[in-house]
């Protein structure tokens, strides 16, 4: 067991001639919430995609440098699907798969070979409870996931991301399409989950990072400007002037 859950060293990603990540070096500790903030186009989503190697499916993306998950270089991983199950990923816009609510959450376990009905039912209930969606949908697990409201769908997406028992949970601007009340509920969920897993929280709401993150990284234009304890980033004197200006809304 290595000290950090994720170790990223000199990571560069370019799409054709456009370099999106320009040499990122960053560690994520076990059971911490790492906030990643930064304006649009700073490479946050790309960074997440390199962790579970869904970057492989992006045409034209070239990755150099090292990303280690739990001590293993992700590019040496033989079973990339096992890697992806180890990492839960929540996309900015809620994506209810066009399946029933139950099947949405049961999808990943089924694809990984869990077929026992009782086991699946218990598992789905646990995930939906973790995502605080169970009470609202327990009577209509057969109805379509896509018919839920935006906030419910986002919690469904989180339940699905938890359904393959990940050790890392990545959230990519999860609150972009949902109301503040739901956002706060999910934030509470994340605080509870911290004891069980490592969480990477990409957010464009700097205050969200301030509320939740143990440490915060500021990404700008494909470069890691700085990463430090959240109190330091949001203090009057972060290491970089740019960070101060961004978190205080002076630019960005």
């Amino acid at each position: 067991m290595s000290a950090s859950m994720i170790e990223i060293a000199n990571l560069r990603v370019r799409y054709r001639h456009h370099e999106v990540l320009k040499g990122i070096t960053l560690d994520v500790q076990r059971n911490e919430i790492l906030g990643i903030i930064g304006p649009a186009q700073s490479g946050k989503t790309t960074l997440l995609k390199t962790i579970n190697r869904t970057i492989d499916n992006v045409p034209g993306a070239v990755v150099t440098g090292i990303v280690k998950v739990d001590g293993t270089d992700v590019r040496q991983v033989k079973d990339v699907f096992a890697l992806r199950r180890k990492v839960g990923m929540v996309a900015p816009l809620p994506v209810g798969l066009p399946l029933s609510i139950f099947d949405n959450v049961a999808f990943a376990p089924r694809m990984a070979g869990m077929h026992d009905r009782r086991e699946l039912a218990e598992h789905v209930e646990r995930c939906l409870r973790q995502a605080t969606l169970w009470d609202e949908v327990q009577d209509r697990l057969d109805s379509l996931g896509t018919r839920l409201s935006g906030g419910q769908q986002q919690r469904l997406t989180i339940a699905r991301a938890l359904s393959h028992n990940p050790e890392i949970l990545c959230l990519d601007e999860f609150s972009i399409a949902i109301d503040p009340v739901t956002t706060m509920r999910i934030e509470d969920v994340l605080k509870d989950l911290r004891s069980q897993m490592t969480i990477i929280l990409v957010t464009n709401l700097v205050q969200q990072a301030r509320r939740l993150a143990d440490r915060t990284a500021f990404l700008f234009n494909g470069e890691l400007v700085e990463v430090d304890r959240t109190e330091v980033i949001f203090s009057d004197r972060p290491a970089s002037r740019q960070t101060y200006e961004y978190v205080n809304g002076i630019f960005g």
Partner: protein
């Protein structure tokens, strides 16, 4: 605040004119179709009966029915689609879901688009060369069906690709994120949500395969052939056959003194069978749409 000004009046006028033009164009499109179908049915009415469908042409094709060409067309359409559909759909799945965007794929895609635009007579010559002569199938139902399959294949690939591309990328990403393989993603999410579009594309090719004359007359369709009436298996794979499109051409231009109702009757059956298949397709699509989930 809400009084009518000259500007709003002008806008209302344009709105009305625009709507009128669109409506007129729609009518202009539907009207000839109705006229054609109506005229055909009117002319063919005296001869239309079950007997007409189930008896062979007789007396040098001046009497009798269309059993032999009707069954021939059914054979050709069914066999060609049985060959072309799996190949076309699977190729499209590969091109849309697996293939990387590099110059090889681009060349293949370009070839597909261009093949879809090749005139049918060129397919006919290809079929004659490749299947009848080179593969030594001779002029036969199999050779003609293969030729039709080659002709419909690129269109099936193109329409299937379009149907697959209509499934949002976000669904695929969501599946990949939870550790599903590409095939699991395709099998459980992409195909169920594009199947209605895929089927529509395939079924549209029924009418094309049934209507073409050139490709089959070079490769397996004959002027006249009597077969056992009422036997659905009267043709063998390596037999030559008659076909409705070719039969229509023959009795309208090649045979003198054919009663007028005969070619009209043939046309009505050709048109009618295509319409029936399309109608079935629409019903099936409505059924699938109702099950569609987003």
């Amino acid at each position: 605040m809400f009084q009518t000004t000259s500007l709003t009046r002008r806008k209302q006028k344009y709105e009305f004119i625009a709507k009128l033009i669109f409506l007129l164009m729609t009518l202009l499109m539907v009207l000839p179709l109705l006229l054609i179908v109506g005229y055909l049915v009117y002319q063919a009415w005296p001869i239309l009966s079950l007997d007409f469908l189930l008896t062979n042409p007789k007396h040098g094709m001046r009497a009798g029915g269309i059993w032999s060409p009707l069954l021939g067309t059914i054979y050709l359409v069914v066999i060609s689609l049985v060959i072309a559909t799996p190949i076309g759909v699977l190729a499209a799945v590969f091109l849309n879901e697996y293939a990387r965007d590099n110059w090889v794929t681009r060349v293949i895609n370009l070839a597909v688009v261009n093949l879809a635009g090749v005139p049918s007579i060129v397919h006919a010559l290809f079929g004659l060369g490749a299947f009848v002569l080179f593969a030594r199938l001779g002029k036969s139902i199999l050779a003609a069906s293969l030729t039709l399959a080659i002709m419909t294949l690129p269109v099936i690939i193109a329409s299937t690709k379009e149907a697959l591309a209509a499934v949002p990328l976000a669904f695929r990403e969501a599946c990949w994120n939870v550790g599903a393989t590409r095939w699991q993603t395709i099998r459980h999410v992409v195909l169920p949500n594009s199947i209605s579009g895929i089927l529509t594309g395939v079924i549209l090719q029924v009418s094309r395969a049934a209507g073409e004359t050139a490709p089959i007359m070079f490769t397996g369709v004959v002027f006249f052939k009597a077969i056992q009436e009422g036997n659905l298996f009267a043709y063998g794979l390596f037999d030559q056959c008659m076909a409705l499109s070719m039969h229509l051409f023959t009795i309208s231009t090649q045979v003198p003194d054919v009663p007028a109702a005969l070619p009209y009757g043939t046309a009505v059956v050709l048109l009618g069978s295509v319409l029936v298949v399309n109608a079935l397709a629409i019903i099936f699509r409505v059924y699938l749409r109702a099950r569609r989930k987003w």
